[in-house]
């Protein structure tokens, strides 16, 4: 389900609006993922804390959202733009790609919560498509 020019424009516009709150978004999304889908905690057993809003969660949320920001920049060629990240996830982190869907859902929930006026049907559709494509690019190098 490829991104139309309209989808890309919508994602970029939405991202520009919400990126000042990037840290909060990352923290909320990751916290929810770990809490609502406890199986995702298995990837972070080395952290000192997995509670919503704790320091390791906040720090990692920031990293994840920075990755999404990068993807927005590279929206015209996600596969090339996310090559390094894909290799990281494929060969080192080895996160089961099913989890990308889970995190994407949590991100959408957080966006809806924090930006109800900006999260129009068009924004929801474009973001859902974009995150799905991002996940595809991220899992490109897996096998």
């Amino acid at each position: 389900m490829s991104l139309s020019a309209n989808d890309k424009a919508t994602v970029k516009a939405l991202w520009a609006k919400i990126s000042p709150k990037a840290e909060d978004i990352g923290n909320e999304a990751l916290s929810r993922m770990l809490y609502v889908y406890p199986q995702t905690k298995t990837y972070f057993s080395h952290w000192s804390s997995l509670s919503p809003g704790s320091a390791p969660v906040r720090k990692h949320g920031k990293k994840v959202v920075a990755g999404i920001g990068l993807a927005v920049e590279k929206i015209d060629d996600l596969f090339a733009g996310l090559l390094t990240l894909s290799e990281l996830h494929a060969f080192q982190l080895r996160v089961d790609p099913a989890n990308f869907r889970i995190l994407s859902h949590c991100i959408l929930v957080v966006l809806a919560m924090l930006f109800p006026d900006d999260f129009t049907p068009e924004a929801h559709l474009a973001m859902d498509k974009f995150l799905a494509r991002l996940a595809l690019a991220l899992s490109d190098k897996y096998r």
């Binding site: 916290s31 929810r32 809490y35 609502v36 919503p52 859902h105 959408l108 929930v109 957080v110 809806a112 919560m113 924090l114 109800p116 006026d117 999260f119 129009t120 049907p121 068009e122 929801h124 559709l125 859902d128």
Partner: protein, 153 residues
């Protein structure tokens, strides 16, 4: 058997008390309604609603009276699950047969609807849709979806 904590029950009941069954009017345009979401974000779901008329864009979907009416039907169904939380499986036995034998709905659509409902409720509840509330709500929907899938064979 599904075990519900008191906190989970309270969360679910609280959400239902806030659900506005008559989602209509200009506010619906951007607090966009429960049923509209799935038809717009996952347009292939429209395959089950050929008789509903114009579903070509967001405005058409949101002002379509058949969609609104059907949204209410679905919400009432969920309400029944909420009122029978300790036996959703049996409460939904007939509904499951209906969806499988008569409506021929691909059960993957239940997952899509659950996701959409969660997002729309998050938009409506804002920051009071905490991680606990989300967890309880998604657990409830998972039980509902499982019950709906049960009679498919």
């Amino acid at each position: 058997m599904v075990v519900w904590t008191d906190q989970e029950r309270a969360c679910i009941q609280d959400i239902f008390s806030k659900l506005n069954y008559e989602v209509a009017g200009p506010k619906a345009l951007h607090l966009y309604g429960y049923g509209f979401c799935i038809l717009f974000v996952y347009p292939w779901t429209q395959r089950y609603f050929a008789s509903f008329g114009n579903l070509y864009n967001a405005e058409a979907i949101m002002s379509n009276p058949k969609v609104a009416a059907h949204g209410v039907v679905v919400l009432h169904g969920l309400d029944r699950a909420m009122k029978n939380m300790d036996d959703i499986k049996n409460t939904y036995a007939e509904l499951s047969v209906l969806h499988s034998e008569k409506l021929h709905v691909d059960p993957d659509n239940f997952r899509l609807l659950a996701d959409c409902l969660t997002i729309v409720i998050a938009a409506n509840m804002g920051t009071s849709f905490t991680a606990d509330v989300q967890a309880a709500w998604q657990k409830f929907l998972a039980v509902v979806v499982s019950a709906l899938r049960r009679q498919y064979h």
